[in-house]
């Protein structure tokens, strides 16, 4: 498994990376953890002439926890899972990335890479959607913020421009009355998500559900919010009946993809099962 030959650059700053992207245009690709890109290169599904390795850029590494949590795009899953502030402020992130791949993948793969790549079976996109997070991207014209809801356009396609670099990922730190959970049916071979469901809930003072966001990944071509399921939850008491109603409403108007391990029908059914699990877990965390 040998990739086609390419030129290699290892810029020291985001600005340098952006200008290299500008310079090489369509020929160039950002290389982060390499755990999606390198397999594609080795299978020769992708043959970029230039790789711009951003893994040595210090400004992409940090994790800051305040009223929101800002994670450098170059932070690895292992760094996120091991960060005390993330674990206390937004445990669902750790819960999600700990289910990605294996130890080697978690030591190399980055949050920025996962979101920029937008693999239909990747785990993080669902969590970013459910948390109402955003990514920051830097291009030749400066920086902008893209809300999660606007990020995932279609299979392997995001709202990022080819000359933009994701610099950070921002999610809220969850407070009292808020809870989130990620629940995943693993693909037996790849361990990506056959179905992954992320749920976020916010309870009102009276214990009813004030807000809910539910997102599904794995089942179809892109990660998607489940507005019908959210609607079934909001305003309810968040009891078993409401959870069941949300689960029943999930996944109905979505496009599905099937493979030899899981057909579209099975995935449709599993979206409901895992929505129930994720919502129930998010509610119990919000009440804790």
């Amino acid at each position: 498994m040998i990739p086609a030959s390419f030129a290699y650059h290892a810029p020291q700053s985001v600005a340098e990376a952006v200008s290299l992207l500008e310079q090489h245009g369509d020929e160039a690709k950002i290389l982060a953890g390499g755990h999606s890109l390198l397999p594609a290169l080795k299978l020769r599904l992708s043959q970029p002439g230039v790789l711009i390795d951003i893994s040595r850029i210090g400004e992409l590494q940090g994790i800051h926890v305040g009223s929101s949590i800002e994670i450098g795009a170059g932070a690895t899953y292992a760094a996120v899972a091991g960060h005390a502030g993330v674990r206390s402020g937004c445990a669902v992130l750790a819960e999600c990335v700990e289910q990605i791949g294996d130890i080697q993948v978690r030591n190399r793969g980055t949050v920025g890479g996962a979101l920029a790549h937008a693999d239909p079976a990747a785990d993080l996109p669902a969590v970013l959607l459910a948390l109402g997070g955003s990514v920051s991207a830097q291009g030749p014209g400066g920086s902008r913020t893209i809300a999660a809801d606007d990020l995932f356009v279609e299979m392997l396609t995001t709202a990022l421009e080819p000359n933009e670099v994701v610099t950070k990922v921002t999610v809220p730190a969850l407070g009292k009355g808020e809870g989130a959970a990620y629940s995943k049916l693993k693909h037996p071979a790849s361990r990506y998500a056959i179905v992954g469901v992320a749920a976020y809930v916010k309870l009102a003072a009276d214990g009813s559900v004030a807000a809910a966001r539910i997102a599904v990944t794995g089942a179809g071509p892109k990660a998607e919010r489940q507005s019908a399921a959210e609607a079934a939850l909001v305003g309810s008491a968040g009891d078993d009946a409401a959870v069941a109603a949300a689960a029943a409403a999930a996944g109905d108007d979505m496009e599905y993809l099937g493979d030899i391990h899981a057909s579209e029908d099975y995935r449709r059914a599993m979206v409901k099962v895992y929505t129930r699990r994720a919502v129930a877990a998010a509610l119990s965390r919000a009440r804790a």
Binding site: I2, R44, P188
Partner: protein, 778 residues
């Protein structure tokens, strides 16, 4: 050295330090001066005519030495040998008119088939140049479905054959019609053994180096059988065997897929001779999935005539076996026939096994090769019979077991079992698993599930297997004691992960009085080892170990004569006791092997004793041997998703006496992982056009540590009379027992919901559907 008995001792593997520290040398690690690299142009079509091959762009690429379509090599070799990838000593039959060249000409019959080779100065350039070769393909209709392959209007693979049927194995013995006519019940079940890939950790790899001393070649290849490989290479390349040296250095797993000679071996050998440079090819994982032989791939229809008490009086069996595009190991399905009745006394059987060609990768040996299929069918069938009759599956097994007094026992399909005590193994397995307690827990869970509680369903499965192994025709060993008392063993077998070097050293330590730490076992080099067969079919210890015992006996006899001379005793009075050669009855008159070896190479020997202390010997197994055992699997199923978790697993394997319990346990662990994976995970899938859908490990599910529970291993010990150690094989046993045990457990978990059989692999979706169907029919 404090004396310890090594046979039966729990010793650490001698092989592990070098393997764990990455110090072993594999074919892909070799770097020879002037070596160039080969990459292959492979067919993207399952069936096509090869038109014009345009090599000009590839040749023009800097670093490319040659681009070689098949036609350019027609003078260099014969077509590939037929039947070289088998396991049962049936290799090399030449009765079939069809084969293909290492680099195909005119036509390809499966995706991944080679049509041209590129030689280049680096692997990168070779791979780039492959993409430059333009082949004018004319696709032909392909046949992928094995059951349709035999039909008259199916696309045909070989114009010289009247159909896609290679051969039909048949057996019709006993009063089958009578048994069916008088049966209380006829139980029918259709079952499939899905196609599997070997997925050894190390793929295949070849380095071929011209050898000017023999006007021949040295070929390093990742093989289980270097001598067989040399023989096939010599025959194919029209050379003499002594012109070729085949070396299997460290080999990272084989499981049967590395027995026969492959097109890449022959192509590299031929090209190295023509171009007079060393050449290397290292398989990629995608090539492995496409072009390394697969295993299993059968569909079976079983019918049993049974009495109300569960006694099986006859079987009627029709099996279709897919042998893929070429007859690499066409006789493996015959082994399914030979093991058809398993551990049961079944007096009548009517069997037909049709072996058919399809436009898929050839099917050859894979851990168990033909026997796991048989064990799966009969062990599943017994469970179906038990379910149909409302009997406990253990009782139905006991009702039909071949009793211990019946051995040696000739089955209705003419297989001669050596020894067995099947109920002893089953009873022990049921005891250690607390079968009664498990059944009680199952009743509790079913009630809770019916009451709507969120519990997982518990399934308990058993399998009582027997398998056939220790294939001939012979095996060899040489034993040399060096002047300082160290011992070097050369064996004809070719271990590739089994740790046989450790087991053999244990035998030599005890039977020669040598220091275990100072024994080195060498293998895998035709220039230094005696003629041998290799490692396959669970034969290393039973056949290779037996040869070793004979060679050791010769050396011991010589050592005793030297000792007798030095101790001034009669040779018959010298006994090897507690590691010392001593005069019988006089424990303080003794010599160590070191002292004896020192003398054996000195000029201080009497005239009637020749110098030296070494011997070579061979062992020809008089009969095949039949290890057996009983497994109990416990699974849990999540009702809303259909996901299976293996809760616990119990084995009672009987491989006769255990020389190296740690290595036996390792073989059982690995075997269980693979057998469980056939039941739950693995499947090579082609679409109806012949394109491989499971072409990488992203789609082909191999088992991982967290898929498996801790295993509980136990044993019974029933020696075989057919070799001096009394040992049977253990390399394939656990694979053979575990696929039916797990499947029986999964079906058992769902039995109360009306599920009678599910095909493997038991993917979550398959189980979920069975549960949905049940819900809908309520």
């Amino acid at each position: 050295m404090a004396y310890a008995t090594m046979i039966g001792a729990k010793v650490r593997r001698k092989e592990d330090p070098r393997l764990i520290t990455g110090s072993g040398t594999y074919v892909g690690d070799l770097k020879l001066p002037g070596m160039q690299h080969v990459a292959f142009v492979r067919s993207p079509y399952p069936h096509a005519t090869i038109g014009h091959i345009d090599i000009s762009a590839a040749l023009a690429r800097p670093g490319v030495t040659a681009v070689v379509p098949g036609r350019d090599l027609l003078d260099a070799y014969e077509p590939l040998p037929i039947g070289s990838g088998g396991e049962g000593g049936t290799s090399g039959s030449v009765s079939r008119p069809h084969s293909h060249y290492a680099i195909s000409i005119d036509r390809v019959r499966h995706t991944g088939e080679i049509v041209a080779a590129v030689i280049a100065t680096s692997p990168e350039v070779a791979v780039d140049a492959v993409a430059d070769v333009i082949v004018d393909w004319q696709p032909l209709p392909a046949i992928v479905d094995m059951e349709q392959a035999a039909s008259p209007d199916a696309p045909r693979l070989f114009d010289s054959l009247p159909s896609n049927v290679d051969h039909v194995w048949e057996c019709n013995v006993g009063d089958v019609a009578g048994a069916f006519a008088s049966a209380d019940r006829i139980v029918k079940q259709r079952m499939a053994n899905q196609r599997l890939a070997g997925v050894s950790m190390e793929g295949r790899a070849v380095v071929a180096l011209p050898d000017y001393t023999t006007d021949g070649l040295t070929v390093w290849t990742s093989t289980q059988a270097p001598h067989l490989s040399r023989g096939s290479l010599a025959k194919t390349l029209r050379m003499h065997e002594n012109q070729i040296r085949v070396i299997a250095p460290e080999v990272g797993g084989g499981f049967g897929i590395k027995i026969g000679v492959y097109p890449e071996d022959v192509a590299l050998a031929a090209l190295a001779r023509i171009h007079r440079i060393p050449l290397r090819w290292v398989e990629t994982r995608v090539e492995h999935m496409l072009a390394t032989t697969h295993g299993r791939a059968q569909i079976a229809e079983y019918e049993a005539a049974v009495k109300a008490d569960g006694t099986i009086t006859a079987l009627r069996v029709r099996i279709t076996a897919d042998i893929g595009a070429y007859p690499v190991a066409p006789d493996i399905p015959d082994l399914t026939g030979k093991m058809l009745v398993g551990v049961y006394h079944i007096p009548a059987a009517d069997v037909q096994i049709s072996c058919v060609f399809t436009n898929t990768t050839p099917v050859a040996a894979y851990r168990g090769a033909g026997r796991p299929e048989a064990a799966y069918y009969i062990e599943r069938l017994v469970d179906v019979i038990a379910a149909d009759l409302g009997l406990d599956p253990a009782d139905v097994r006991r009702r039909n077991f071949i009793p211990p007094a019946a051995f040696p026992y000739r089955t209705v399909v003419d297989t001669l079992y050596d020894s067995g005590e099947y109920d002893r193994a089953l009873s022990k397995a049921l005891m250690i698993s607390d079968y009664a307690g498990l059944r009680a827990e199952q009743v509790r869970r079913r009630a809770a599930h019916a009451a709507g509680e969120p519990v997982s369903l518990l399934g308990i499965g058993m399998a009582t297997y027997v398998e056939m192994c220790g294939f001939g025709p012979y095996e060899s060993a040489s034993v040399r004691v060096e002047p300082t008392g160290t011992v070097t063993v050369m064996t004809g077998i070719s271990p590739h992960g089994q740790g046989t070097g450790t087991t053999f050293a244990q035998i030599v330590a005890d039977q020669l009085g040598a220091d275990f730490e100072q024994i080195i076992v060498k293998h895998g080099d035709t220039a230094t080892t005696p003629m041998g067969q290799g490692t396959m079919g669970s034969r290393s210890l039973a056949v290779g170990g037996a040869a070793l015992v004979r060679a050791v006996a010769k050396v011991r006899e010589k050592a005793s004569r030297v000792a007798a001379h030095l101790l001034e005793a009669a040779p018959d009075d010298i006994v090897l006791e507690a590691g010392r050669y001593q005069v019988r009855g006089v424990p303080d008159r003794h010599l160590s092997l070191i002292e004896i070896a020192d003398r054996a190479y000195s000029d201080d020997l009497p005239d009637d004793i020749d110098p030296g202390l070494e011997a070579v010997d061979f062992f020809k197994p008089p009969e095949l041997i039949y290890p057996f055992g009983a497994h109990v699997a416990v699974v849990e199923i999540e009702p809303d998703t259909g996901q299976v978790r293996v809760h616990s697993y119990f084995t009672v394997d009987d491989c006769g006496p255990r020389i190296s319990p740690v290595i036996v346990a390792g073989q059982v662990h690995g075997g269980l992982a693979q057998g469980i994976a056939q039941a739950l995970f693995e499947e090579v899938v082609y679409d109806s056009n012949g394109q491989l859908l499971s072409g990488s490990l992203m789609d082909y599910t191999i088992p991982r540590a967290d898929d498996l529970p801790n295993f509980t291993l136990d044993k019974t010990e029933t020696p075989t009379p057919h070799n001096p150690l009394g040992v049977k094989g253990i390399g394939e046993a656990a694979t053979i027992g575990s696929t039916p045990a797990i499947t029986n457990a999964v079906v058992d978990a769902l039995a109360h919901l009306g599920v009678r059989h599910l095909d493997i692999p038991l993917r979550s979706e398959r189980i979920w559907r069975a549960l949905q169907n049940r819900k809908e029919s309520q």
